[in-house]
Assembly symmetry: C2
């Protein structure tokens, strides 16, 4: 399949078939797509925590609810597995530290790219995905032993799309003219 | 081609054939991969400035050198075209603003994902790419009229790999055991 076809067909999924499990072999293929992702200064400032144990999944479901009770993932209990994408301290070139005074300058972008690649590989395996952005860091640390200072940047939900999940609404994007210009800001 | 094969084969390229141009049609296919990228709250907090005019390219070559004369891209004058990935203010759900007090919480990750997708589409088109992380924002604003506050997060270099560029050294990545664990931080 052409890569743009993947881009056009893949959708975030918010309705999953409950009580299904994903073979570990497939989860590791998804992880491999993250592991191979390029990163600033090749720092690879990430750790991926795969969560597929039922009790541990319940803890993720708790941690993506904020302390005031809000969540962007009301469908979270249907998910087959989660991957926590955790940011780690990055070792970058002196040039970067000198210019930005920040070793983590590229880290968030790197994790975004890794997450995107995991979505593509999951799609290739017939799995549905959705990226959950909001989580309660203190719960993540308590539930999973994540070291203080290593922020959970993204949570990737994986599973099997429920009936109808295969024909989602059209992709809504800003038009080309609005997001692209040539040789000067316009 | 299987998606993991793309991940395994694609390399950052640091030696290009000079004086070659990329058809606008192909550049727009690369932009399309960026435009279709999913983003936090579907905010699409980006603008892509394609730079393929020779004079404007010289300005990019200047802007990826910092004020103290350093650059991570000594090969920049060989590049056929650049794409500046510029972060714009994001409109996110109330839940996100309340929890993180930051409309830009997801923006860097979103731009990282968009840049990754552009690399994949370029690869599909036979183009070589390298992401340049360091740039001098004040030069970008002066050279391209980029509004103050809209940060150039990444610069994507595109071109045709020079001889030997097709057989680059092996990919260096942290081993699986180091970047992945199951159900608890280890």
């Amino acid at each position: 399949m052409d890569f743009l076809d993947i881009m056009r067909q893949r959708r975030s999924c918010r309705a999953y078939q409950p009580d299904r499990t994903i073979p570990r072999e497939q989860l590791l293929q998804v992880i491999e797509a993250g592991r191979l992702t390029p990163s600033g200064c090749n720092a690879q400032p990430w750790k991926f925590v795969v969560v597929d144990d039922p009790e541990a999944k319940e803890k993720v479901c708790d941690a993506v609810v904020t302390s005031d009770g809000a969540t962007g993932a009301p469908w979270r209990h249907q998910v087959s597995a989660f991957i926590l994408l955790v940011e780690q301290p990055a070792k970058v070139m002196q040039l970067v530290e000198r210019h930005y005074h920040d070793t983590q300058r590229f880290a968030q972008g790197d994790l975004g790219a890794a997450c995107m690649n995991m979505c593509h590989e999951a799609f290739a395996l017939g799995l549905a995905t959705c990226v959950i952005g909001v989580n309660e860091q203190s719960k993540m640390e308590r539930h999973f032993g994540i070291p203080h200072g290593c922020e959970v940047r993204l949570v990737l939900a994986l599973g099997y799309a429920a009936d109808g999940g295969a024909e989602p609404p059209a992709k809504v994007r800003r038009p080309l003219e609005e997001v692209c210009c040539f040789n000067r800001w316009q």
